[in-house]
């Protein structure tokens, strides 16, 4: 009797499970799911620091101006601006009738509050806010009436507009910004569950003529690229950026790939103060000892752009591509330089690699093999990202590290860190000539002239071999056949407002 009952129950269970499994994937047609592999570090735009978070929040928040896909500034919350003749006073006019997602008008007070907040000028200041260091030139922000804001600088800064674009405008004194974000972007926030997803829906009162079709966007958080790829294969994810080369070759049916520049400076960054890299000849030897094109061929199937200096290639006017050819692959030359520097038997050192970036780990393995040809012996030491931040980036306790520097809004960002006194000069690069050039460039208003200075600085960094610049990798994205409009930006952005159904 009991046995029969047990069998019955088991049967019902099995049946219901199978039936449940047959239930189709019920998804509304206007929803797009995009896979990300990193959880957000904050929903508050002034506290978020991870590139992976800013990429998502780009859809919710906007600054006074924002970058478009060509790296040009376009007006967002502000409609226009005027500058005083001494370049010290900026007046911004707020876009007519622009509203936050909660329906309130954006006022000059909100802008004053937002800029002061991310400049660390609010008292008492919240220590969790990631202060934008370039805002140190701002001496005052003042709301004039409801629709204009005056920003006063200590000294002229030709790139201040770029930096202002990174400061997202949020409602003044809104306490729930980190749980229920409110911005002015094309999508409004619906919900966030840590480790699961961020859901947004179309903001119907967006100021731009609303051509966007997508009603709802789900950013689905997977634990790593492998599981995300499984989810792509099963059809749960429609768009998956940052595919590996191997994954790009096994794209499932119903998807296509789009490639674009990642705008990352991948390189072996050297501690210019540590032996043996305190000798310029050793650093140059290292540059001769690696075959950059071959690295790209092996790691990424040839998809990448060889770099010769520390500048984001996305800024086409500023980037000097001729520097790629300064160092060719030449093990004999490398050995010779090492000998000159007094290292007759070659050198040994350790490369610290952040373990969460498989791409860098793969690259490091090939670099180590190539270096052997020139009698250079390198060990790889994998370290966690937060250990990398403290050991390598802050304490500068390393010989060499293989990592990437992500593109920022302004070209100056790429060079700033090489100033002798810069807080983020983790390579300990010291060259008074460079410092002078940097200062001169900053005080130059004429863009063409400034570009010339920037190129001179780039050449200096290449000649001094402050680091071994490897490549600007490609970013490969898988996209559902039904969708189009995925666009690459020169900065880290997943712009969902441009996606549409074919």
């Amino acid at each position: 009797m009991l046995k029969r009952k047990a069998i019955m129950i088991l049967l019902i269970l099995v049946l219901s499970i199978t039936l449940y499994g047959c239930k189709g994937n019920m998804k509304s047609t206007k929803t797009v799911t995009i896979g990300i592999t990193q959880d957000l570090d904050s929903l508050d735009p002034h506290k978020a620091v991870a590139a992976g978070t800013k990429e998502v929040l780009f859809n919710i928040y906007e600054g006074l101006y924002k970058l478009d896909k060509n790296g040009e500034l376009v007006s967002a919350v502000a409609e226009s601006y005027e500058v005083s003749s001494d370049d010290l006073v900026y007046i911004f006019n707020i876009r007519n009738g622009i509203k936050f997602h909660n329906g309130n008008n954006v006022t000059a007070n909100d802008i004053e509050y937002s800029i002061k907040r991310s400049a660390g000028m609010l008292k008492p200041s919240d220590p969790m806010i990631a202060v934008i260091s370039a805002f140190s030139v701002i001496s005052d922000v003042e709301a004039i009436g409801d629709n204009t804001v005056k920003i006063v600088l200590n000294e002229p800064d030709t790139e201040i507009l770029y930096y202002l674009s990174t400061c997202d405008i949020i409602p003044k004194d809104y306490a729930e910004i980190s749980t229920k974000p409110i911005g002015t972007g094309p999508f409004k926030f619906v919900s966030y569950s840590p480790l699961e997803s961020v859901v947004m829906e179309k903001y119907n009162d967006y100021y731009l003529e609303n051509k966007q079709q997508i009603e709802k966007v789900i950013f689905k958080i997977s634990s790593d690229t492998d599981s995300a790829f499984m989810e792509l294969r099963s059809g749960v994810i429609d768009i998956l950026p940052y595919l590996t080369d191997a994954q790009a070759e096994q794209i499932p049916e119903g998807y296509y790939v789009k490639e674009g520049s990642m705008n990352l400076i991948q390189g072996i960054f050297l501690n210019n103060e540590r032996e043996p890299f305190n000798d310029i000849r050793v650093r140059q030897a290292l540059s001769y000892a690696i075959d950059r094109q071959k690295i790209i061929d092996i790691v990424a199937g040839g998809k990448g752009e060889v770099l010769g200096t520390n500048m984001f290639p996305g800024f086409k006017n500023y980037y000097d591509e001729t520097l790629v050819d300064v160092y060719d692959f030449n093990p004999d030359k490398a050995k010779e330089l090492l000998k000159e520097a007094g290292y007759d038997n070659g050198i040994s050192f350790t490369i610290k690699v952040p373990s969460n970036y498989q791409y860098h780990v793969d690259t490091a393995q090939i670099v180590v093999e190539q270096l052997k040809e020139s009698g250079i012996n390198a060990d790889i030491q994998l370290i966690e990202w937060s250990a990398w931040l403290s050991e390598v980036y802050k304490e500068r306790d390393y010989q060499a590290t293989l990592s990437g520097l992500a593109a920022e809004v302004a070209p100056r960002k790429a060079l700033e860190r090489f100033n002798t006194e810069a807080g983020n000069n983790f390579m300990n690069y010291k060259n008074p000539e460079f410092d002078n050039l940097y200062k001169t460039a900053n005080n130059t208003n004429d863009e063409n002239e400034r570009i010339l200075y920037y190129k001179q600085m780039q050449a200096m960094l290449t000649k001094d071999a402050a680091a071994v610049y490897i490549q600007n990798p490609f970013q490969i994205t898988a996209i559902n056949d039904k969708l189009d409009g995925y666009t690459y930006y020169p900065i880290y952005v997943q712009d969902m407002s441009l996606i549409y159904f074919k």
Partner: protein
């Protein structure tokens, strides 16, 4: 009563030791939460201010006792990454992990027990040998790899499972449980093998004992001997093993949640460790330890109930 009291004291001491250990571990590993929260562009000044705010500049002992004082009041502190209470974060995720563990445990029981008995009854037959080979293989596969194999098998070959189509228990409990069956398999399969082998040996050992012969000579049929006498005795050591297994399952879920992208405690733990989110890590570890210690506690009591001699020791 005294027995229970003694157990309760040990229980508290265990948790205290665990909290000291995780606390110490956090002092030793490189990286710090202030730096991770503020990122690459942070100035030294900003980092110092945040450290001060978070209390990182105080003496280690003072910090530990401050933390302990708060914990006794039920306050585990706030998550730096998620800007919410550590306990709130855990409350939502623990449901996922517990259900995963429960389903794994049920799978283990309903599959391993019949197989174990079967292979003991048909000792050295083809069936027994087949079971032996299968258990040997499944014990050798690492759980995360098993997870990937299962995803491919059920997701892309048989197609009864949609990888990534996780549904929150708040939305649809049936869908949630259905999704969990597959990761639960990955947790359960190695344990099933362990249990089958253990049960088989335990039954075979019992069958050789004198009381079985006595029972036979009294004219009982094999069925009665098996179900009335042998199994009852063979199950006593199994209880201990099951208790240990539950602790193991909790550990196994950490890895499997990673493979199946489940928003459970294990994934929260890994994310929090890499962000140096101390409050959350400490709370999760204590939570898990609490569950494991509780299970052991229950096993002890069960044991006492099944075999009253235990209390006298």
């Amino acid at each position: 009563m005294r027995y229970l009291f003694k157990k309760a004291i040990i229980f508290i001491i265990t948790l205290l030791i665990i909290s000291v250990l995780t606390f110490t571990a956090f002092q030793v590993i490189p990286g710090n939460s202030a730096l991770t929260a503020l990122g690459m562009e942070a100035t030294d000044e900003a980092i110092e201010t945040l450290k001060e705010e978070l209390g990182f500049n105080k003496n280690v002992f003072i910090r530990y006792f401050d933390w302990l004082k708060k914990v006794t009041k039920g306050d585990f502190g706030d998550s730096i990454q998620y800007h919410s209470k550590a306990t709130d974060l855990i409350k939502d995720r623990v449901v996922v992990t517990l259900w995963l563990a429960i389903i794994s445990f049920i799978l283990i029981l309903i599959i391993a027990l019949p197989l174990g008995v079967l292979s003991a009854l048909k000792k050295n037959s083809i069936v027994d040998k087949a079971i032996l080979v299968m258990t040997q293989i499944s014990m050798a596969i690492p759980p995360f790899f098993l997870g990937i194999l299962l995803t491919i098998l059920f997701g892309f070959v048989i197609k009864i499972f949609i990888p990534g189509n996780y549904i929150s228990y708040k939305e649809d409990i049936a869908g949630f449980l259905y999704y969990l069956i597959f990761p639960a398999m990955a947790v359960a399969i190695p344990k099933i093998s362990m249990l089958v082998k253990f049960l088989r040996n335990s039954i075979i050992r019992e069958l050789k004992l004198d009381y079985v012969r006595t029972a036979r000579s009294k004219g009982n049929d094999e069925r009665t001997i098996m179900y009335k006498h042998v199994l009852k005795n063979a199950f006593i050591p199994i209880i201990t093993l099951l208790g240990m297994m539950l602790a193991d399952i909790m550990a196994g879920t950490i890895l499997i949640e990673q493979v199946f992208s489940l928003p459970g405690l294990g994934r929260l733990l890994l994310v929090s460790i890499s962000n140096r989110d101390f409050a959350v890590v400490q709370a999760i570890i204590l939570y898990m330890a609490l569950i494991v210690v509780l299970i052991n506690f229950i096993v002890d009591i069960l044991y006492q109930f099944l075999d009253p001699r235990v209390t006298k020791i």
